[in-house]
């Protein structure tokens, strides 16, 4: 039984808005949590507990003059943030929120799009999103942006390899590239974090690098490169880049929960609530790391990526494959 197209459309609309709301409040939560960890309060002026802060930020960004450097190459400069934001949002569509429901005889899937190669799609869209950063930095004709772009390219390309290799074990155990399928299998067997702990670690570390969060936030190392590839962006264009970054972070957390922590499975069949709770825990870890760790240097980052993460991910994949073949 497949769901009718209009339910898909309605669900897509709902999920996109939920995702954007999640992103808006993730920025608030991040600032609050960081504030508490750094002996501050974080934003608490707009609304109760600062709950209106994301809205205030949005209004500020939209009203801000969006000026461009005179040397900027117009079309790529404007299109770049849109590419990044679009791919970031699109990637979330394949991540399952719940088991799926049947209401009044209508079938509702737990995800927006049930794609048989969902995992590949997430990675493919992630790679496309990098174009936004590269084109944006290159088109803004600023030396700091160029430096930031160079770092972004190198970092994302090298960590993507480890990221993709780290999930091979899960794919072998789950026997599918379809994300709902993988979640179902974890419900039948056990969360894949147990057999794939190494894979989970590699995935988490490479994921931090993929979303350029601390301690791998070199592309936008503010103390060195001012703001990296988005130095010359202002107003909502900058906002779109920021949105892309945060939604990538949410997608990555969602993917991690789906692949390693059994997605929406949990006691009492709470479905999406479990998914959100697990995702919140992963996001908290992201924020926690940011407040704690200093930034790596460029060459150290590269060395770590190629000489530590990649071999570990490869060995993990090979060993898993051997075991799967041996014990079936």
């Amino acid at each position: 039984m497949t769901e009718p197209w209009w339910i898909s459309l309605l669900k897509a609309f709902l999920i996109v808005n939920l995702l954007l709301g999640l992103f808006a409040y993730l920025t608030l939560v991040e600032r609050k949590v960081m504030g508490r960890m750094q002996l501050r309060y974080g934003p608490n002026r707009a609304g109760k507990f600062g709950l209106l802060q994301p809205i205030a930020d949005l209004v500020k960004l939209v009203r801000k003059e969006a000026f461009a450097p005179s040397g900027a190459i117009d079309i790529p400069y404007i299109v770049a943030p849109i590419i990044s934001a679009f791919t970031a949002i699109a990637a979330f569509s394949v991540i399952p929120w719940g088991p799926g429901w049947t209401v009044n005889g209508w079938r509702i899937d737990g995800e927006v799009a049930n794609v048989s190669i969902g995992l590949l799609l997430v990675f493919a869209l992630g790679s496309l999103g990098i174009y936004g950063f590269i084109v944006g930095g290159w088109a803004s004709e600023s030396k700091f942006s160029i430096l930031g772009t160079m770092r972004t390219c190198a970092q994302l390309v090298s960590y993507e390899v480890s990221l993709a290799l780290s999930v091979l074990g899960v794919v072998l155990l789950g026997r599918s590239l379809n994300l709902p399928e993988i979640v179902h299998r974890q419900g039948e067997l056990l969360p894949f974090v147990a057999p794939q702990f190494v894979g989970m670690l590699v995935f988490f570390i490479a994921g931090i690098a993929e979303t350029s969060r601390a301690p791998f936030d070199l592309p936008e190392a503010e103390q060195e490169l001012v703001a990296g590839y988005h130095t010359e962006y202002s107003g909502m264009r900058w906002g779109l880049f920021q949105m892309a970054e945060y939604i990538n972070m949410i997608t990555l957390s969602g993917l991690m929960v789906t692949l390693f922590f059994a997605g929406w499975h949990g006691p009492w069949n709470l479905g999406p609530i479990w998914f959100l709770l697990k995702m919140a825990a992963v996001l908290f870890a992201f924020i926690w790391l940011r407040t704690t760790l200093p930034r790596l240097r460029y060459d150290q980052l590269m060395r770590f990526g190629w000489k530590v993460l990649l071999p570990v991910a490869t060995i993990n994949a090979v060993v898993t494959a051997a075991l799967v073949v041996a014990f079936g």
Partner: protein, 434 residues
């Protein structure tokens, strides 16, 4: 006219500790402060020039660095200063001595009390005035608190520049306590103007001692926390060890002083080797590290904070026994008479009027006084023509000298290292440009 070409042989033996990280000179030859792009790279397309500052998140105010980059590697470097030139030295020539005291602290706005001290000491040396014991110990206490304050600002900002953002707030928590102490004593958080020629401006308020004791008890714990956060962090160690090396010989040749010199393995501290105030009566160690890298500079400052806390504790022990003793010299030609005397004594009224309107006169002569400020040797060269205003004042600022080492330290560094190096040399731009 003949110019003496013969220079006296250098007899001074500098006490160097440990193995220096490298031999010989790495100081750029043409101009010691400019790192030239190597000959083979000069026409290269790959080298591109980036302008860091004066408007840049981590340039400590308004330092400008013109950096030639080959990829991420720094191949050329020029530091441009002067964006914070204020002309304080010149302004001081038109102010009476007791009004001048406010200027030195604004020169080095992080180590203000030490700068205030060096000027006051210079004037006192010309006047030959005797300072009461209580004032001497209180000056020492405040200067050491100020040293901790300055090092905390260094630690917080340089950790922030390496991406450890939370350190900034932790350091500023302790800094806030010190500023509260300053406010308690002097009424001001920064630029306190509490040192007066002849002693202190006012008596120490009674609530100060318990508050200061509480801080002295707290500070070692805070230092342990910092060490736990940074020193056991592999990323921090990799980012600081072996970066921006400066050997002892080069440090001496570049005239480095203070923590930067001691981090290069030269055992030299004016507080111990040319004692002023009452430093010969307190017990403290001078931390020296031989490696000359960013990590060594960080460790020297961490250890100095611990030693300064010890000195503050000893000062407190002394000061608590001096209750009721005078805090300023009783010299009516220089020091303002007590307020209550103005209503009863004609002489006091005249002295007060003369000092406030005309200022006190300082005998003709010139003097150089140097102290160990948080950044190194802070010197004040003062010339008096016998009038109520200084004829010439010049400050030997340690920040200016520290910046000269940038080009030597930045050899072969990456962009990220450059930020760490500039941060670790800890120069205050106000002090550099004056």
């Amino acid at each position: 006219m003949t110019i003496a070409t013969e220079t006296p042989p250098r007899t001074r033996r500098w006490p160097i500790v440990g193995e220096p990280p490298y031999e010989g000179s790495r100081i750029p030859t043409r101009v010691p402060t400019i790192l030239d792009v190597p000959e083979e790279l000069r026409d290269s397309e790959d080298v591109f020039r980036v302008n860091f500052g004066p408007n840049h998140p981590s340039m400590h105010g308004v330092l400008r660095l013109i950096v030639d980059l080959d990829g991420e590697e720094v191949v050329g470097l020029q530091a441009v200063i002067g964006y914070l030139h204020t002309g304080f030295e010149k302004t001081m020539e038109s102010k009476t001595y007791w009004k001048c005291v406010t200027y030195p602290e604004r020169i080095d706005y992080v180590g203000y009390q030490n700068n205030e001290l060096v000027f006051v000491l210079a004037v006192e040396k010309l006047l030959g005035i005797e300072v009461p014991e209580k004032a001497t110990w209180m000056r020492m206490l405040l200067c050491e608190l100020n040293r901790i304050h300055s090092h905390l600002v260094y630690l917080g900002t340089s950790a922030l520049e390496l991406g450890a953002i939370s350190m900034f707030w932790y350091c500023f928590r302790e800094r806030e306590q010190i500023l509260d102490l300053f406010e308690l004593v002097t009424g001001q958080r920064m630029h306190t103007r509490y040192f007066q020629v002849g002693g202190l401006a006012e008596d120490i308020p009674p609530g100060f001692f318990p508050e200061c004791r509480r801080f002295v008890e707290w500070m070692p714990k805070a230092l342990d926390d910092y060490l736990a956060l940074l020193d056991r962090n592999q990323i921090w160690l990799e980012r600081t060890k072996g970066i921006g090396v400066l050997a002892a010989q080069d440090a001496i040749a570049l005239g480095q002083t203070g923590p930067n010199l001691r981090a290069s393995g030269v055992d030299w501290d004016l507080r111990r080797d040319q004692p002023y105030l009452a430093y010969d009566q307190v017990d403290f160690k001078v931390p020296v590290y031989p490696d000359g890298d960013v990590y060594a500079r960080y460790r020297v400052r961490m250890d100095e904070m611990a030693e300064s806390t010890r000195i503050v504790r000893q000062c407190l022990d002394r000061l608590e026994r001096m209750e009721g003793r005078p805090w300023i010299a009783d010299d009516r030609k220089v020091v303002l008479p007590p307020r209550e005397e103005l209503h009863t004594s004609m002489e006091s009224l005249i002295h007060h009027f003369k000092i406030v309107t005309e200022g006190f006169r300082v005998p003709e002569g010139e003097v150089y006084v140097a102290i160990e400020s948080p950044r190194g040797e802070s010197g004040c060269y003062l010339v008096s023509d016998g009038g109520p205003r200084p004829w010439r004042v010049h400050f030997r600022s340690p920040s200016f000298v520290a910046l000269e080492a940038t080009a030597t330290c930045a050899r072969g560094a990456l962009v990220a290292d450059l930020i760490a190096i500039v941060g670790s040399l800890d120069s205050v731009m106000g002090d550099t440009d004056r």
